[in-house]
Symmetry: C2
Subunit: 703 residues, 2 copies
Amino acid sequence: MQDLQPLLRPRSIAVIGASTQPEKVGGMPIRLLGELGYAGRVFPVNPGADTVQGLRAFPTVEAIGEPVDLAIVAVPALAAPDVMAQLGRAGTRAAVVFTSGFAEVANGSGLQHALATQAKTHGVQLLGPNCLGAMNLGERMFATFSPIPLTGVPPVGGVGLVSQSGAFGAYAFALAREAGLGLSHWVTTGNEAGLQVADVIEWLAHDPQTQVILAYIEGARDGMRLRQALAAARAAGKPVVIAKVGTTVAGASAAQSHTASLAGEDAVYQAVFDEYGVHRAHTLEAFFRLGYTLARGRRPARWHSPTGMAADAVAPVAIVTVSGGVGIMMADSAESQGLPRPPMPDAAAAALREAVPFASTSNPIDVTGQVVAQPKVLADALAGVARSGAYGSVAAFLAGGGNAPRVWSLLEQTVDDLASDPQAAPLMIAGVISDEKRAWLEARGCLVFREPAHTIEAVAALAKAAAMTESAQSPVAPAQLLSVPELPADAKALSEADAMALLLQAGVPVAPHGLARDADEAVRVAESIGYPVVVKLCSPDILHKSDVGGVVLNLSDADAVRAAFERVRRAAGTARFDGALVARMVRGWGEIMVGVRRDPVFGLVALAGIGGTAVEIFRQMSFGLAPVSRERARAMLTQSRAAALCAGHRGHPPLDLDAVADVIVNVSRAADAIGDRLDTLEINPFIVSADGLVAADAVITLR
Amino acid sequence: MQDLQPLLRPRSIAVIGASTQPEKVGGMPIRLLGELGYAGRVFPVNPGADTVQGLRAFPTVEAIGEPVDLAIVAVPALAAPDVMAQLGRAGTRAAVVFTSGFAEVANGSGLQHALATQAKTHGVQLLGPNCLGAMNLGERMFATFSPIPLTGVPPVGGVGLVSQSGAFGAYAFALAREAGLGLSHWVTTGNEAGLQVADVIEWLAHDPQTQVILAYIEGARDGMRLRQALAAARAAGKPVVIAKVGTTVAGASAAQSHTASLAGEDAVYQAVFDEYGVHRAHTLEAFFRLGYTLARGRRPARWHSPTGMAADAVAPVAIVTVSGGVGIMMADSAESQGLPRPPMPDAAAAALREAVPFASTSNPIDVTGQVVAQPKVLADALAGVARSGAYGSVAAFLAGGGNAPRVWSLLEQTVDDLASDPQAAPLMIAGVISDEKRAWLEARGCLVFREPAHTIEAVAALAKAAAMTESAQSPVAPAQLLSVPELPADAKALSEADAMALLLQAGVPVAPHGLARDADEAVRVAESIGYPVVVKLCSPDILHKSDVGGVVLNLSDADAVRAAFERVRRAAGTARFDGALVARMVRGWGEIMVGVRRDPVFGLVALAGIGGTAVEIFRQMSFGLAPVSRERARAMLTQSRAAALCAGHRGHPPLDLDAVADVIVNVSRAADAIGDRLDTLEINPFIVSADGLVAADAVITLR
């Protein structure tokens, strides 16, 4: 892990290219550090001035006479590499480079490389170039040239914010200030010649000031670093909210590579986010709202299932409403967020019905407009469901009722009681309420949103964060040792027989088959495995065998097999001929495609979904990092809708979905066993049959 | 159309059950009308009081001595029907009934029926019962018992709001007030024993005060009335925003009926909304934002296509940004909103590149952070794209730049110039700006949103509104006269031969076929249409012929046809046997399902989508009101992804999508021709072949 102490908690700062004019790039940080109360020492470096903005200036960084923790660099691009070397020689530990004109412009990559090399050689940690800098709000450390802190600074709080884009970072700062969202640190990474967003995430994961991490990324250069950082945040129990842009544009431009074109690389990012429980925001508004929710909201209580069944993985919600219509809106929202809504337990329902005979005690629980006349009914219903043990959280729509004095005094009492009871489900409110009351509620982890859907989204985000923290992260068991066949250096693929043998070893069911060198052997294989069979050409020179007529389907007797063998042999033409694979035609009611491909950023990625025409038409493949866990494989089956084909489709027997998921797990392990040489592994199709999934085909290509 | 003049612009109001206590249900309207300045006369009716809240009271409505326009009724439920009769005899024109305890409670339907009958018999227009009343903000007419107007009233404006739910209506009133959204009228319809939401929408469509209609519905009782109202609003060029709740809950509960379970009835509402260009809101926040956008935003200018091709139906947008990252976010949003983003025209691009060499002139157009130093670059870029003729609208992200004095003065000038030029594309802004500047911009139709995605959604909503108003609403040509076969009163279905004949007549391609009474005739038919063929049992007693073995596929010679005929005859068992249909097996590369079903609310509804397993797995059928227009049929093909199967799937020849759409149009017309007797029409599958769609099957059931 990169130690960001010198960058984010520096005891001293030098400004290289310090300007006497506070509005200049080299002047603004000095103004900010001075005006806003940074407690460390600041050393302007400017060979042409004795003082800069009232501080003694130094002609060079060496002239300061002691090593500084952080240097802010605002010199012309061409001078930057030399400055970096000087910094290194003077013992500077970290540098923020504001200067632009590096890799973001044509022909600027060479200069950026020179800069990065000097930083590395001299052991200076580099943020930038072409970045807007960094801030530590608690230490009033503003290493930026943006004037925005001059007009106000957000409160100090538990949200750490990191952005690749400076302009996004500045806008985010302004919005956080406006929303009163408390920040710990603010970092923009610019061209990322040194530090990446992932390095900052990982450091924030260990930073005691930071409870929630907000990150804006356009793309990760080093996917493994990002995974490591997200794993660190998960291990620390700190939720990460990411705004990743380019969802559709990137998808379109990535469509050149075949497997990527099935869904666009955005789906791979999504798989990474799913793997590490990242909260994804598609708008700025959601980015901040999720940050606020996760930093301030109380997480769901433990609950039990009233039916005596095992509790769900997702904490259930009780919706309590004074308006039937808004209750339905919130139920729609809960359904789309995947939040269970079990009915009100009998005791609580009976109590409510006694107080309000026309109340609806299903969930949404409609206490009706009566509550203005009888606020105790609302308070009792809220406390009743919160203490029933049946719910993780309670979401209540109060309209403007919270402002009514009689309602408020009872609500205040109820929230206070619930906040001190760790067994009680926390309350989240939708409605209009005064700022003062809102702040009082917020201090007790009870958040208030105007938009009812946002209240439900808050409940869902907190439930997700709780599940991430509490669940033992089902670790992938060490893969059994698979014996991978010898892979000659020039081999472009495994033979289908070798591929099938490897899959079998890994626990993947494959259609009964055998390799035949001549027509007689083909018939013997067919008779031993049973008709109907398919005969497929085996040649190391021919990857797409059906294109050359090397596949003959649906053979039901010995004569047909004999004829098919000869046809396949002729199809080989002048290519090497290793024989033909004779395999049982498995009957089923559908096809699933499972594959593993090498993503340029994140490494091996597994994908699964409905096979056949649907692959191109619906483009609903789901992705997971390989090797995948059974839990993730189950999610892939659901997201891609392949689960629907396995779970009693059109009267067919339902399969054990855990067993189906294990097939995906085992395919991903087989790919992982091949390791660095693997390019793609594709099984298209798996036949969905009463015996479970059976691989009818297997292609493994190497690089 | 119902004339709502007496209800919404009454010259006089009687309050039946008037209370001397202003906070009571029968007291609040008198207080509101008095305190807030209603100019008409108010007559309290209360037999036990001489005066009520300072007004002379009357013992009965007759005692007033003159007919009043509107009566507000706040009497016990059991008394309400008699009161309605008294009102009628006294010549009252409209009544708002606040009282609850009617159809919304167990055993209350009878009383509601009595109330409605009295209103109808005596010619009194009825709003309610169990409603929160109505308001005309311009005339300070507050016929409600909600105290909410006492704490402030939204400005008078062009947005008319109607809600089935009173609590939703009250909350909406509070949010509109907070957002400063100008309202014309506010109506809640409650149990809808008389007036429905649709009646109010239709009246608002003709009301000169109202420019945009906002409606909240849980469900329409009379789908045809709603369609008529939406058609009136469309004809008047007034956008309608609807929040329809129960999207997922209703879907689940409606899953009993087969066809409904393919998508849930929500998809039918969506088809209605699509047909009439309704803007749908899934959150309260979006509901108001769309209302604000459509009431205040300038609609897109006319544009031309720089490539010389026909202009798109959707007005294209230019995205101008000071941050690359936010620009990508906005591009993602534009893509999901279906807004085209053509590149910057050459002249404008050259001018920008001259000013800022590193600017990106693709779209999003990144003018970079330079604009703070050189605000003229931003102003020139905005004016350049707005005047280029290539865009309908311009969406600009300015971060906090609009507040900088130098930027603002140029922006002000630019917006002023553009606002006076009807040829110029209007500008919508994302960023932080002072309230005063925002109001100035808003007055020129230039809206400002903090959330970049909301700016794009505003552009999309205004483009949709413009397209709805400007496009001659492609009317469905009168269907050709189809000769529908005699339908005996007890017939449950058409024979397949009759169904196919009707479809052929309507211009639907069906597989070549013929009816055979014996095996010899079956062979003759097969030879005349060509092998391979399918033989299908024809019996008026057997609807699901494949269930009894009455379908034999893939027959390629006379012997096979003969055997199949005998098999099918035996399959009929003791049922009537009309012979067998011999039809060509059409070869293609995919299957599309097209159907028409009778929706209980909206009448005949057409559906289309990918056939086969996908029907249940992906549930992506798209719906349209039958008979559908070609335009709607095209949209159905796209939404269901069936278009992908027709447009060059896996190297197959691309079909003419207009011709494919016409097949759907013609299927819907055939169903329409059958009229009231039609229950369902289903063609499953249409084979997608090089010759276009060919119906391989047809089932028409009657009711």
